[in-house]
Symmetry: C2
Subunit: 471 residues, 2 copies
Amino acid sequence: MIDTSYKNEREDAQEILRELRELLRQSEDAQERAGPAPVAAMAEPYQTALRTRLGGLHPAEVASVLEALPLDERLIVWDLVKAEHDGDILLEVSDAVRETLIESMDSEELVAATEQLDTDEIADLAPDLPEDVLEDVFQSLSPEEREQLRAAMSYAEDTVGALMDFDMVSVREDVTLEVVTRYLRRLDELPDHTDQVFVVDRTRRLIGALPISKLIVTDLEVAVSDAMSTEVMKLHPDDEAQDAAQKFERYDLVSAAVVDRAGRLVGRVTVNVVVDYIREKTEDEQLAQAGLREEEDIFSSVWDSVKNRWAWLAINLVTAIIASRVIGAFEDSIEKLVALAALMPIVAGIGGNSGNQTITMIVRSIALGQMQNARILFTKEISVALLNGLIWGAILGLVAFWIYDNPDLGLVMTAAMMLNLVLAAVMGVFIPVVLNKLGRDPALGSSVMITAVTDSGGFFIFLGLATLFLV
Amino acid sequence: MIDTSYKNEREDAQEILRELRELLRQSEDAQERAGPAPVAAMAEPYQTALRTRLGGLHPAEVASVLEALPLDERLIVWDLVKAEHDGDILLEVSDAVRETLIESMDSEELVAATEQLDTDEIADLAPDLPEDVLEDVFQSLSPEEREQLRAAMSYAEDTVGALMDFDMVSVREDVTLEVVTRYLRRLDELPDHTDQVFVVDRTRRLIGALPISKLIVTDLEVAVSDAMSTEVMKLHPDDEAQDAAQKFERYDLVSAAVVDRAGRLVGRVTVNVVVDYIREKTEDEQLAQAGLREEEDIFSSVWDSVKNRWAWLAINLVTAIIASRVIGAFEDSIEKLVALAALMPIVAGIGGNSGNQTITMIVRSIALGQMQNARILFTKEISVALLNGLIWGAILGLVAFWIYDNPDLGLVMTAAMMLNLVLAAVMGVFIPVVLNKLGRDPALGSSVMITAVTDSGGFFIFLGLATLFLV
């Protein structure tokens, strides 16, 4: 135990994977040597070893193994594990890999897998399930569970409703802690992440919360109403998930109550779900920034990858063609002074980099609610751009002068750099602020836009100045 | 209570900020009208109102208010709040803002602020404290606490040691749950995030854990050894923080034990610290990707911002100059066929975008431990590049043909696109894999490098082909 926990996580995963692939290979070899029997006796021990090894793994570990295996091996492993925790594993794998797993299962298996899950988990899986499977599962639920499932499926992505579960424990305020303790003992085990039980009145309105740690250290004769805390964080199903996550971070919560508009307790959100949400959001943003529509199954087809990546390339193609036409408009000048062709990408490139720095700052300020100081920020970014333009523009001017022995070219270079950096700063503030005003995520798309502006703008400024003063 | 919790977090923060600034303004106005008395009687009520409003806020809320205020207002607010939770607030603000706050405090205030904190928190603050303050604080600690502080300060950033605290509760295995419960009751309150008490033997070796939820639902006569779970997650102070975070995510932990090489319990890590760590890492990465060395205080000087941003701009300047020299080598060709100047940025630009998509995929695969399949990934990325090159190259070839009425130019364009996309794919796999092999974070720097390669490479390929076949 101690030994394995000392290794780092990635090595662990790598090792499990190596072991499993070795077992898989041996099993296949044995099967091959033995001929076409369904499962040859010779392959049997390896299959058993595989099953045992897999049985000892956490569903999350199995999920990461499945994601790291090529499709054929993935389905063999899936066949061996799916009887037990298939529902949990389906929840853990990425969307693309989940598709390949669900495709390999028949309706009966899917219903069995789904039925093991809590209603909030079924709701997470629902979009990927065939209609008839979902119908069967729905029929197998109790009326209360059906109501929960309907509710859970009705909330939009990125809302608290989509994060919440229904595993909360609630008690009444007029009983003693003794009664609460006896009640809890009757449950076989407390739901995961129960750090507090919620206190509700006759109409299920949330009036307080009793932390478990308080329950343990307080005299059992005390009434709930005296031990409970009434300063309770309350979330609403329609709240933005992002804001709820911020509250968990800020107030170090383990769980939080979700109440409806009338203040009635309808569910709870737990920190593990929030952690997953934060991680997923981050990953989505990283993928989106590189123009990947969604996470790719690394073993999916080339065509799937091309489809996942085409939109961004197409947008960039359009902006690149526009920039190209800006250059095209100055072809006469370039023909007369070909040095312009060599120098123009520098002006455009540094402008793009500087603009992206400004955008990163502004996007952060928007997220942190600091935009009441928009004017100060704007002034500062312009000042930074001017100073940077002076510094880097001067250096580049000297470089241009040195290479082409043309002082005027150097001056034009310096002036163009300054102007393009100021343009980058202006647009670097303007683009995310406008996106935000329009209710869009300023982190997405800003980078592509600023690069388009500083490319075309940089070419125009530099070639324009050169045409005016040099040729 | 219910009402405010319905608002989203950012609106809350905005509103608090607006209110506070209004109070500040009124207080300053009153002070001005009253003349130069230290705190004029007329300003007094506003100051009191401000203090009351601030007193009701969570340290994390005060921190975000401080970050959103210009330096002069920030220090007024800080003066009003610092007596109470100054240590906690200092922990919450960003590094840059913390500097401004610490600068405004004298040694005595700093010692008082620091002394309120736990030893693991003091260690977090230590790098920003003056030597003499740290010495004073150290003297005020008990021998055990000094040992803890020394230990906490000895661990490298990004290790489990840097995340851990010493607030764990531990019990012996040979007592009953009754005894444990009585022991816990003697504590005034359990430490935050105590979801389990750790079970240790005579030598403090960790042998199990007793979940609080188990403690509550189990008969009190049962012995700890019978109720505890022996499958305990054990972290080591030298483990990478990132791997520990992955374990919290994967196994939905609230707390985890930290043991030394001999298996002795030395501390614990809690999920709130992990959440903060995940968020910080993400932010650092985002900043680093845009070439910002650290988070900027938005009210810091222009010069501070320029310093924070210069390194990346300098690197990009160098790569841009190299690309420019590649173009310079083909100036004769451009002079003869000036269309080349207009078309070459397209080839370079799309190559950069496609390369960044590949890099994003590979960095993810490395993080998820999927690189045993490196060859499959490599083949796939090359295939995707060839197919994309065919599609987008053909489109661009047609565009070039259409604009310049030159079929050969179109063919060169198509060929150059294909080659540059393949180059982007090869380097997009190669760069992060090599960075990882060298023990560096493949997420950092990859993007700058791939863009440098696809720019210079794209210009070389396109202009080279054009020189061979067109001019």
